[in-house]
């Protein structure tokens, strides 16, 4: 066997052994790319098909007569509950909830990481450990107690409004969602920044102290400007998670004027009567996913770089 095998290997050997190797690597990579792209491909082709074609044809086939109709319908016409104005309006709802939630949780995470690495005090590991473990709490089990507290805050908001004419956002569903996502995002953002700042040279902080910078000046002028990589990672992570959250969104902001994208999408997609308009559903799903997709594609390169910069380290 080996007698035959050796010359056979040599015939492909020499300069081409490397070539064979490269071809193998590239085909494997391409194969996996197909695996990862498949659901996206199915969704994409389906969203351009007519209903007739979906029912009669193969799900993997390209559309025979591509149509933008489903996309237009999903964007501007499809019904979310009893309101039939498409999902476009819910974009803004999600954005005005996601942006503050991401920024606040990231900023707090950065501050926490800064304190936990550069201003250590006795018991800092315990504090960090406790905050980190918080990442693991199943959200289903906090749904009700959290609702109770949000309700009390809301009633306090009403009292405040009666007293001062201003509720400070208490009781507002968007503010509630921002609060919830900040609370349950803190563990992760703190983890990310703490690991990053752990490797961040402490001497810079000392130098800045000698230079007369205060606690916050050091944070703003020294730490933050040098935190870009981890900032990107944290923002991507938080943005995706909060944008995609359905549980909290449906429980705390199901009402029409604050309803985030995922709840609206769920109301479009998750129906069990009538002919399911798969093409519209897929188009709606794609539209709802665009921001997160965009974030990953645009910032993907920085993502790996950011992970390199410290999030990966224990």
């Amino acid at each position: 066997m080996s007698v035959i095998a050796t010359p056979a290997r040599q015939s492909t050997g020499g300069i081409s052994a490397r070539t064979v190797n490269r071809i193998l690597i590239y085909s494997l990579l391409a194969l996996f790319a197909l695996f990862y792209l498949m659901p996206l491909f199915v969704m994409l082709v389906t969203s351009f098909k007519t209903m007739d074609e979906i029912q009669s044809g193969n799900m993997l086939a390209l559309p025979q007569a591509p149509t933008f109709e489903p996309w237009l319908k999903a964007w501007g016409e499809t019904c979310v509950g009893l309101t039939c104005a498409g999902i476009k309006g819910y974009f803004w709802n999600s954005i005005k909830m996601v942006v503050p939630a991401v920024l606040i949780s990231t900023l707090l995470g950065a501050l926490n990481g800064y304190v936990l690495t550069k201003w250590r005090f006795r018991g800092h590991t315990l504090v960090f450990g406790l905050m980190l473990f918080a990442c693991f709490i199943p959200f289903q089990s906090v749904l009700l107690p959290m609702a109770t507290i949000l309700g009390s805050l809301g009633r306090f908001g009403v009292t405040l409004r009666n007293a001062t004419g201003f509720s400070f956002g208490l009781g507002n569903p968007t503010v509630n969602l921002v609060f919830v996502h900040v609370v349950y995002g803190l563990g992760f953002t703190t983890l990310f920044f703490r690991n990053y700042y752990e490797a961040f040279p402490t001497e810079l902080v000392k130098a800045a102290q000698v230079d007369g910078a205060s606690f916050f000046q050091i944070f703003r002028r020294i730490m933050l400007p040098n935190s870009m990589p981890i900032f990107v990672v944290t923002v991507i992570y938080q943005f995706t998670n909060i944008w995609n959250d359905f549980l909290f969104a449906s429980a705390y902001a199901g009402t029409g004027d604050a309803m985030p994208m995922t709840v609206a999408l769920n109301n479009v997609v998750n129906t069990s009567t009538g002919v399911v308009e798969y093409n519209v559903n897929m188009a709606a799903a794609m539209i709802a996913a665009l921001p997160t997709l965009l974030v990953y594609v645009v910032a993907g390169r920085y993502f790996v770089r950011g992970l390199m910069a410290g999030a990966v380290k224990g």
Binding site: R122, P201, E203, L204, K206, A207, A208, Q209, V210, D211, G212, A213, Q217, R221, I222, P225, N226
Partner: protein, 371 residues
């Protein structure tokens, strides 16, 4: 009254005591080097002077004023760090000016100060670069510039040269020395490199395990180490520390060194320290620096007490300016420093001159010098 005074300084982390009562002082314009192996507490001591770490007990005074509780920026100090600690997001100019910016110095004055410092350190062409675009030596200069621009009462250096290659290190060492000479500022300098300590300091504090082992001028430290640790740590090549016993009688004590497969050497001591008589027939550690152990021709002419003994040479290391010879005494490799042209072969026996005026003796139990 000294310019910098440190009294009974203690620092504890929980139950671990890192600084165990430090007392130091430094005259104005002095250059104090804190030297010791890593973990000896020298950097912590520097940080407490800077105000970057709190102290548990004791007092630090600069120019008569207690600064224990002052914020680092209020202590009128400047610090150069081992990693230079240049702010990566700012240009060189921004780095140099950051401290002034924090103090609210107007932009025009800042610019003037930057220009002045840039001239002194010859870094004018680098001002608009980011630290990542600089070489190691350039970063070092910028870090010094950042300290210089503050014109502080006290300069603190935390192992500033340890990240440079050998040649640059020598250059920068001279640069710092010159800077000290021209500006006349008071400097506290941390290093683990005893050559830096010897060359730069006006005062050296040798530290170990949170305690100052010896505090004095470089010459005192070098010639009169108070204990085994200081003797061993300072000097390169290190002092030969040879286990020996004290022989002889009454007024004429001698030190007896064991040799391999030969009868011991006995060196008569002319003016032995008074404490040594108590160690008669007892083991001691005999300390002699390599330059005090030479070929008889190269021995110091006016030394009062030179003893010569035949030694078996094991290794010869010509180093250009000198030749080092290694022999074995008291079970230890002993280095002798001979003239460069000394004609000596490994494997042969040759007479070596012990300059006993420079010799020191230690009690092996306490490790302290016998005086």
């Amino acid at each position: 009254m000294a310019f910098l005074e440190i009294d009974g300084l203690r620092k504890r982390f929980g139950s671990v005591e890192i600084l165990k009562g430090i007392d130091l002082d430094l005259e104005k314009g002095g250059f104090l080097v804190l030297v010791g192996p890593s973990g000896c507490g020298k950097s912590t001591l520097l940080n407490t002077i800077a105000g970057l770490e709190t102290i548990t007990e004791g007092e630090i005074r600069v120019d008569g004023r207690t600064i224990n509780d002052l914020h680092p920026s209020k202590r009128d100090i400047a610090m150069v760090f081992q990693s230079y600690a240049l702010y990566p997001n700012m240009t060189v100019a921004g780095n140099i000016a950051f401290g002034m910016e924090m103090r609210g110095v107007p932009a025009q004055e800042r610019q003037k100060a930057i220009d002045k410092v840039a001239k002194v350190l010859q870094i004018g062409h680098l001002l608009q670069r980011k630290p990542s675009q600089l070489s190691g030596g350039q970063r070092q200069r910028v870090a010094m510039g950042r300290a210089l621009v503050r014109d502080p009462k006290l300069f603190l250096f935390d192992e500033p040269l340890s990240n440079l290659d050998a040649k640059l290190r020598v250059d920068m060492r001279i640069e710092i020395k010159r800077l000290h000479a021209t500006t006349g500022t008071t400097i506290v300098y941390v290093t683990h490199d005893q050559i830096e300590a010897m060359t730069l300091a006006t005062k050296i504090a040798v530290m170990r395990d949170g305690e100052v082992q010896q505090f004095g001028t470089p010459a005192e430290i070098y010639n009169n180490p108070t204990n085994l640790f200081v003797a061993d740590f300072m000097g390169s090549p290190a002092m030969n520390l040879i286990p020996a016993t004290i022989g002889g009688n009454g007024n004429a004590l001698s030190v007896v060194l064991q040799r391999e497969a030969r009868e011991p050497i006995s060196l008569a001591l002319a003016d032995a320290p008074t404490g040594l008589s108590a160690f008669h027939s007892k083991p001691i550690i005999f300390g002699v620096r390599p330059e005090a152990l030479t070929d008889p021709e190269g021995a110091e002419r006016n030394a009062s007490n030179i003893a010569t003994a035949d030694c078996h040479i094991e290794v010869v290391e010509p180093a250009g300016s000198d030749t080092f010879a290694v022999t074995n005494l008291g079970g230890k490799a002993v280095v002798a420093r001979l003239r460069a042209d000394a004609n000596i072969q490994p494997g042969t026996s040759t007479p070596l001159a012990f300059n006993l005026t420079k010799a020191v003796f230690f009690d092996p139990a306490t490790e302290n010098r016998i005086l």
